[in-house]
Subunit: 321 residues, 6 copies
């Protein structure tokens, strides 16, 4: 069943989220602080049984100089810079196994698949730590450090994502003029955030993105992970203003308002995890060229491979085949 | 939590299933009938956006001469016969999209991914019809035609799987001396059945296989799809003997008792869909060289990619790299 | 809780479903094709332990000439043509046991209880096969053959229902001027369809009917069996137009628009299986004399026996007692 | 799935329940007290739309002289005493509508369908009050008055059942030499209790009976209504001895130990509401001629109509047709 | 997620409930009848291991002269009349253990914690019987005696609550000019009812109250205990008018319309048990000084201790510290 | 229903867990490291509306010198050192509100209620941060740092608990010869651990303790929080040996084997969260004087207040009243 407003209303939906006056300054400072740690790029061949795809184990410095891991998958025969997809992972998962997610490299792209700090234990393995702790938090990641924008988990993760693009651009097999960012759910949110924050991004694909119009999301769904935030506020009702302030620096809608590169969204009308009005909130607020694919009968899987196939077609359109 | 017997007991577990005296004759007749329809092999290039992998749309004649579809994925550069994996799909799914499941072709294999008749609408798309109807049946596939071995849905599907190997062997890019069969769940069952019925199979991988020791399975789990059979018997208790007779011609345990080629099983101790004692029933009954990988903390996903990675290592061992 | 719109809105609700221009032609052809197979009526005494009710096992030719079974229950003492109720069964069930459903015969009616092809294994037994297979389909019946009106399962079932009335009219103990059709859920849908298609029907009772305003139903409920269609469309989003076209030939709303005989509907405001707006869609579109009984606090059971008791009172009103 | 011990173990299962020394005295006193209120039998024609069945609204005095209602259904043409089935209803339901449950009267029996005091609002309507209150109790009936045998709800209900047989025997259309008692679940329990306490009972049918080996039942299932008792004991752990003492006067196993008339049980191996070991506990303890039908794949519905059909066959065997 | 209307709409929400003309007369008669039994106050020291709090076991005569129990908790050192809180318990619970709920006595108040007749077995123990039985009712308390206002369970319970305040006022350590009533859920409802009916009440705290705008509540939630009423009406649809009439004498909204003392409500926007529009219905109808605290992210726990802390602050404000 | 072995088997149950040879050394080093940070005790009056209880906000240095918060509740009139209960909180909760948990202070004890680092947002608020991050972990706390004993979350938490007793002993109102530790679930585990590690503990109360025989627990229950560990191992099966090694340094069974002070356990036979065999594993291994209270019909709430009341009685026994 449809989980949200009728499609006509979705297309007109405007988030009531306020954008902090110092939103851009906050992120500018955050990123310049992070960049002071240097990139620390390291690339190691990772042996697999694959023949057509080469996998390398990449690490770079993310937020606070912390080491972030990623897989670089490329066509085995590639020797020149390739158009590139930097992919971010959904909530709870890590970069997975070296042999996972062969689509983009098989399509002739360099594919940098970033690990997610501290995650990577729910449904796909990761190997990147989050060395930062937090105040009282609901099991999960969304409420860690929610007391202030400075301590929020997602601030760290967004920085990692921006730095992943820096890392990509520094790789030999990457054509730094042709970098796209892409992800589903939490990964779609990071694609949206990097579209706004990272000038090296040429285009973005935010499929069924998480962390958009959060203040609304937590009132219209009981599904995890948005539910974590509701639990936190039920236990700490006095901290609602602080938490809402923190979230306003992290919300995908506020990234959308400042972004300029072309972006493709997808959303699913039966998605109860990231309800479509929260995705439309980001899409409708997006300041650059944009499109959105609506999956009428799908849930949070969205279009799945069909979203990726469309992204590939779009990239062929932009950059030739 | 563990869903079945302790591991020590599993290793000793013997199914009480009887093997019909005419089991081998039944299948010999069934297969020779099916082969009278000819193979009707057709192969068409299927355009995708992929670069390192070539996809072809294959069709051949399965049970009753019905048209069965499959994807053939090969390394784009391949021109000589390759070691080959014929893969069968889990319950409810179809062969999926052309760009799915790139692992085996990326590993340098020919990969024939057989569609499942009538399925392919629950979680991955298919395009193969099952033109046969059935008597009264529970929504699903396991009880269609359960009145008699001759009318049973799984008889048709097993024939399709055997013929898929015939089809593979007839393909130019397939080295017919190096054909493995592989699958998870229903696909693992079909791998086991073809290991027993199809002499062209060199080795088999039956991961968390379905349809083994069915008479026990339906008494120890309430999960679909085994639950379908319990529902049928609750509504038609008078047909239990006939249904059990039918199932005895289809049960993976009885295939295992007649099989001779090396096989690798996997099972998961927290699998409530295909409980481990039913998998061990097949493993322990298997008449050829065999091994089994036990995933202690996994559910029906079993080892997932790790099962496939192990299969790849095993094939490298058998056939060189 | 109420599962749908407020009652005032329900009473005004108009489905947006389009009626195909050739809807009537499609069914006219379908029925004349079916009638070419002849009726093939066969009636056998069925011994039971009952004393006041006689049960006969009836069969006739339905769609494609396929054999359809039914129970004929009559007062044991009856020797002259009786007013008659032809009843259709809800989803998943069959005609049940001979000794089930004694209400109508005990009330002095001939009661022809039609079996449902291929169903009859979920909650009540049946013995009628559906010899037709299908393309990829979700476990269940609603998506079988959904690719085209010609192949759809419900086309076959509607024909069976129309032919059941032909069969009833040909029975000695049936007064062919006094035939009512009746059913709950799927059975209510078939009563509605036969009210539109079968001129021998004098009046109809469509209680909590299924398959009305399907395009809306699948967006407002997650319950089976409507959920099957949503699953199909999630896996085959490209086939939505074809599926919606097929459904437009089958939808109860389109039957309602062409029907002329008096009909009594019922619906329940807490019904999440066949939500009330979908029933009102059919009622409000119905072109003949009509009434609807609203059960405020019931779920999909509707009024149950109270619906049947009201039907009996209505028939006494129409035909005397 | 099977909800209890393997069938071989069930057949040997012996309850550890102790039988109070004054069990028989307790019930003798209880019944003679009840009988002091006189029977107060009243019979009124109840008009329905039925033709072959006559329905009368019966009332009599049960425990404490309270008025208990019942339906008497007989073949419309009957004028001489008939073999009779007194039926008791499952937990939560009442005697239902006059037109419900036509099987026995249609089979030529007098059918006295006793209402259940205070129940009759969950799934079928009743019209009999329970004027007695209780101490603190879990919502439901099992823990009302559980402090002592004298105050227990089920003491009252068992008396009503015994008196229903007295009432039946006093009815003109009842052949008092041919009275059977029958029921499912709570109704099966009451059939068992009356088999032990009421000498007018010629034979009994206790299908999937409730309230047997209760001390075990509450440790092996979480389903309602047994769960009520566990909830009570969790909140009032200090009252466990008193509650267990009370239950020992009510437990079907203790009735079984004192019963002598032939009885037919049924049980279902997938019944999680009244697990089969609790039914076998009663069967194995039963002191008279006995049989048990085991439904392997059914849940708490047991054999449903098939149990009743078997009961009819058995009565034909005993009493002729 | 929010379970009801947006907050703006809630603030304007007006129940459509009609107030019976004889509402006040009904309750005046009911209370004067009850008072004819006298108060029968009894107070016994109850030994505990506590040092700062003294606990006494109180009993008094409630509805029909039935004995009602309560705990009286006071600061151990208190010797003069204290400001007092009379607290009522939520559905299913009893007054609990002597050592429970130490907040009010620790704050220097006399705390009379009334037991709930017949309840006290679901989650906290009670020791007060409800000697009245009922007609057919759904397991639980809401539908007992729902046939008429005179027989309704909640009539008895409201009388008990009113009499509890009479009892409090008669206690030595209670300052009868400073009595507040307080409760959560069912307890909040009783606080509201006593605010309207009992002139000795100085102020009331109705937190997340139950039994308000019941006719609406049962259409917007499926949670127990409101669900009991829907079940009853589904089984007894003919009794809807009588049941609705009965409820109109019990509904918190109708108490609110006649109340004059200051009251503090709380409600939670994620409360699915007592949805916020039903609480606002009472608040908006309340005829005296009133306030409402809205917990945005909480469910039926409401503010929990924070509600009580606010009540304490309010009482300090009213009565000094 | 019972969730584990029969009680007789529980009483004999021996965990197969191995105790690392350097278990004692590991903890000795860990604690001496922690103590190098000094205690940093700070105590501030915390104003509440309470009259009989005084609340102070305490902080001290726990693991790594991190600041740990606690409430100190004492009888308002106390001026001399009191017998003391140090209480630890269950999983997900924090020390709660100042006015919560008044039992121990009302009983005349000093009550130090320790906050739980990083928790305190699920069901009761906390205000203590855990500044340490972790490698990939499942949402929750059990798998944080599970790679090695040195990095494990529970190592830090156990140290905090040990230091809480040091802090208690340093408080003016605490009689350092009469310190008991107490908790439910996670709190019970910490009581057990401090009983083993902290010589200042005179006696301990471990009610329904968590983190005992973890290797078994994760195979017999699917409930959170044990489920977290199973999820981790399903995603990282290669890390099972490391994780099991880590857990062996943290498991309550291994603390039990080295403990000497008297302890009282409780367990509940219907507890599916901390199944009774895991509690008996600790009890049966406990090297000092011990007792265990078995709640037959309770779930994870165990005896609740009744466990605390028994603890109070025991302390009165030990220390006088």
């Amino acid at each position: 069943m449809f989980t949200d407003l009728p499609e006509e209303a979705l297309r007109r939906w405007q988030s009531r989220l306020r954008r902090p006056d110092d939103f851009d300054a906050f992120w500018a400072t955050t990123l310049s602080d992070a960049r002071e740690h240097g990139l620390g790029l390291a690339v190691h061949e990772h042996p697999t049984g694959l023949a057509t795809i080469r996998v390398q184990d990449v690490s770079f410095r993310g937020f606070g100089g912390d080491t972030i891991r990623a897989w670089l998958r490329t066509p085995a025969a590639a020797s020149r810079p390739l158009p590139t997809v930097v992919q971010f992972v959904g909530y709870g998962g890590g970069r997975g196994h070296a042999e996972d997610a062969l689509f983009w490299a098989s399509a002739g792209f360099a594919h940098l698949h970033m690990d997610t700090r501290g995650q990577g234990a729910m449904w796909s393995p990761g190997s990147t730590a989050d060395p930062e702790g937090s105040g009282p938090a609901v099991p999960g990641f969304t409420t860690r450090g929610i007391e202030a924008p400075e301590t929020a988990y997602y601030r760290r993760l967004v920085v990692d994502a921006v730095r992943a693009v820096d890392a990509a651009a520094a790789l030999e097999l990457v054509d730094s003029e042709r970098i796209a960012v892409l992800g589903f759910s939490q990964g779609g949110y990071l694609a949206l955030a990097t579209a706004a924050l990272q000038p090296r991004v040429a285009t973005a694909f935010a499929f069924v993105p998480f962390m958009c119009d959060v203040a609304r999301a937590i009132t219209i769904t009981d599904r995890e992970p948005y539910r974590e935030i509701g639990r936190y506020l039920a236990t700490h009702p006095d901290r609602e203003p602080a938490a809402m302030r923190t979230l306003s620096y992290l919300d995908g809608v506020n990234f959308a308002r400042g972004a300029r590169v072309p972006i493709s969204f997808s959303t699913a009308l039966m998605d109860a995890t990231c309800p479509p009005s929260t995705v439309f909130a980001a899409h409708n607020a997006y300041a650059g060229p944009k499109s959105i694919r609506v999956w009428r009968y799908n849930a949070h899987e969205g279009g799945g491979l069909l979203d990726e196939r469309a992204a590939l077609a779009r990239l062929h359109e932009l950059w030739g085949r």
